[in-house]
């Protein structure tokens, strides 16, 4: 019999589950304060919903053996967008929803076999609001949620911001047949591929400058305006980013505008962002999101309300980050263990259960010692072994 969890699946111990729940609760409190309502999208969806119009490659999906093509959700956005565009179509827009749950992704391990990674996500979706006000709300909500987590300053959080439309505008001068190659070279951070494109020198130099352009929003926006002129897109992006400057600075979050940044999943078609912290050795992405109007449009074609933005936190990445250095402090802060209720003889079980009920009635945790204990000392020793706060021993 196999005694290990299947290919890549997680198997958490109680302390980790507690931390996950605590983090999810902290985030959920913030979502509720902002007027978001919880939904529970299905874990299983049709593959065509999960692939989100080709944005997510089929090889990244965990497929089920079933009569119809089904799979496990690789993220929460597409299932929520589907539900919002069908069952919740009659509700007034904008629709503010949040959800948390496990997501699944398939990948090929080093040994060549299929591995499945589970990820606990918690995130929000703001549907039916195409204006930049929704983007601003999302970024402010993200920062408020980060504030509730209490990340220590040593993690140096950075909010990486890009924009799909901005990149398209920058690429519009590139001849159409080279545009897709140029886009990939820019988003994959591949200056060698960019240099190899057959483009006029001036355009190649512009793209080489673009791949190195990132940093403080005001400076980057100024450079972009030199290239694109004062287009409305730049104005609205500048306004959105200016609105988050103060709360981000108060939290110690650096905002980095990177015109060529695009997230892994090709779901998005507007503002995109990723919140990255410095882990012990390597950068760790703890949240990502963006605008996905076209995805909503796939589910409710022809509607003027085909708009959506959202983000998701990677709860376990946050837990690992917070636990990596703060393990002893976290142990101190834990709730005390339960009492151990023991009796001297097997006949004392009834009395022990009544004693437990009293403790439970008073709001105290207590667990039953299922074997008789000779005396208080034996019960105390057992309680210490089990991590209980103490023993309540009942003489016969």
């Amino acid at each position: 019999m196999a005694l290990q969890p299947a290919a890549g699946a997680r198997d958490l111990n109680p302390g980790q589950v507690d931390s996950n729940r605590r983090l999810c609760d902290l985030l959920a409190n913030v979502y509720r304060l902002w007027g978001y309502q919880e939904v529970a999208p299905p874990t299983i969806e049709r593959l065509d919903t999960l692939e989100a119009g080709g944005a997510i490659a089929e090889r990244e999906l965990v497929r089920l053996v079933a009569d119809e093509p089904l799979g496990l959700r690789p993220e929460l956005t597409a299932p929520i967008a589907r539900a919002a565009s069908t069952r919740m179509l009659g509700r007034p827009r904008p629709l503010r929803l949040w959800a948390s749950g496990t997501t699944f992704r398939s990948f090929t391990g080093d040994g060549g076999g299929q591995r499945i990674s589970e990820q606990l996500q918690s995130g929000v979706e703001l549907l039916g609001e195409p204006s930049p006000a929704a983007d601003a709300e999302l970024l402010h909500l993200l920062l408020a949620a980060v504030a509730s987590l209490g990340l220590p300053p040593r993690h140096q959080p950075t909010l990486l911001v890009g924009h799909h439309g901005l990149l398209s505008a920058l690429l519009s001068q590139v001849p159409e047949e080279q545009r897709s190659l140029a886009r990939h070279a820019l988003t994959d951070f591949d200056p060698l591929a960019l240099a190899a494109l057959s483009l006029p020198d001036s355009q190649r130099q512009r793209l080489m400058a673009l791949i190195g352009l990132r940093g403080e929003p005001v400076r980057v926006l100024y450079q972009l305006e030199q290239w694109l002129g004062p287009v409305p897109l730049l104005e609205s992006l500048a306004a959105t980013l200016a609105s988050v400057t103060t709360p981000a600075a108060a939290l110690g979050v650096r905002v980095q505008l990177d015109p060529t940044f695009q997230p892994h999943f090709d779901l998005y078609d507007g503002l995109v962002f990723k919140l990255v912290c410095q882990g012990a050795d390597a950068p760790v992405a703890i949240a990502s999101g963006g605008r996905y109007d076209a995805l909503v449009g796939r589910f409710c074609s022809g509607s003027s309300e085909a708009a959506g933005t959202g983000f998701g936190f990677d709860v376990e990445a946050i837990r690992d980050l917070l636990e990596s250095e703060a393990a002893p402090a976290a142990a101190d802060g834990q709730a005390p263990g339960p009492w151990l209720v023991a009796s001297a003889t097997a006949a004392g079980l009834g009395a022990a259960l009544r004693r437990m009920a009293e403790l439970h009635g008073g709001g105290e945790a207590a667990e039953l010692c299922t074997q008789p204990c000779a005396d208080q000392a034996a019960a105390d020793q057992l309680a210490a072994e089990r991590g209980c706060r103490g023993a309540k021993w009942l003489a016969a």
Binding site: Q156, D188, F189, L192, A193, G212, R214, D258, Q278
Partner: protein, 230 residues
């Protein structure tokens, strides 16, 4: 030079072997001195730069993109052949020009095969670079049986285990001495400066500055003779 407000010390993964000397030289010219790695009695695998603002990891060729892909090293130097074989999500930043060699199909000189398409279908091909070989023969529409070896690949045709090999050729001497001849090139390879994409996007200028200095510093006037890659 390296700014004081950088987010964390820069870590560079460097490959042991033929590329090491030139890699150290290029970083030295750009302001990071890892020449302690070249000391003959050095056994340290993690070496700080002389200025103390960066550190180098000394790893095997194929492990350079792994350390960079996982973000433990922000930069690395490795041959293009390794990047083609392992296909990891790293950014290829600069073609450093040294470590030139080519990936080629080679057969016994006496075999009579003159190009890869001459090989019989389902023949055996031995290689360290089975992914490169697989992609090449697939594009030729020639089904072959690949045999993965970890070194001394030339013995494949000599012992009769395989009809052909796919391997790196620098000067061609190893092939010649073993009675083999290269019949077709898959691609040519040089050393590349690679980077962790997310670290590059989070960069506040320090990393980009270093990359630009490495790209623009004069290539060493003294071009050492390449050790034949085996």
């Amino acid at each position: 030079m390296i700014t004081a407000n950088q987010r964390s010390p820069i870590t560079v993964a460097l490959a042991k072997g033929a590329l090491l000397k030139d890699s150290v030289r290029r970083f030295q010219a750009a302001g990071l001195d890892f020449s302690d790695l070249l000391e003959e009695d050095n056994r340290l695998l993690m070496v700080p730069s002389r200025c103390g603002t960066a550190r180098a990891l000394l790893v095997r060729n194929a492990d350079v993109p792994v350390y960079v892909a996982y973000g433990q090293a922000q930069l690395g130097v490795v041959g293009y052949d390794v990047l083609r074989e392992h296909q990891l999500p790293v950014a290829q930043l600069v073609d450093l020009g040294f470590g030139g060699c080519r990936m080629a199909v080679a057969v016994k000189a006496s075999s009579g095969y003159r190009r890869a398409a001459d090989l019989p279908a389902h023949c055996r091909v031995a290689s360290k670079f089975t992914r490169c070989a697989e992609a090449f023969f697939e594009q030729l529409d020639l089904p072959v049986e690949l045999i993965h070896l970890t070194g001394s690949v030339e013995l494949g045709p000599i012992t009769g285990m395989s009809e052909a090999i796919v391997d790196l050729v620098a000067t061609g001497r190893t092939l010649r001495d073993n009675g083999l001849v290269a019949i077709e090139d898959l691609f040519s390879s040089t050393a590349r400066l690679i980077g962790h994409p997310l670290a590059l996007r989070l960069d506040d200028g320090a990393l980009q500055g270093l990359v630009e200095r490495i790209a623009t510093v004069q290539r060493p006037a003294h071009r050492p003779v390449q050790v034949p890659v085996r």
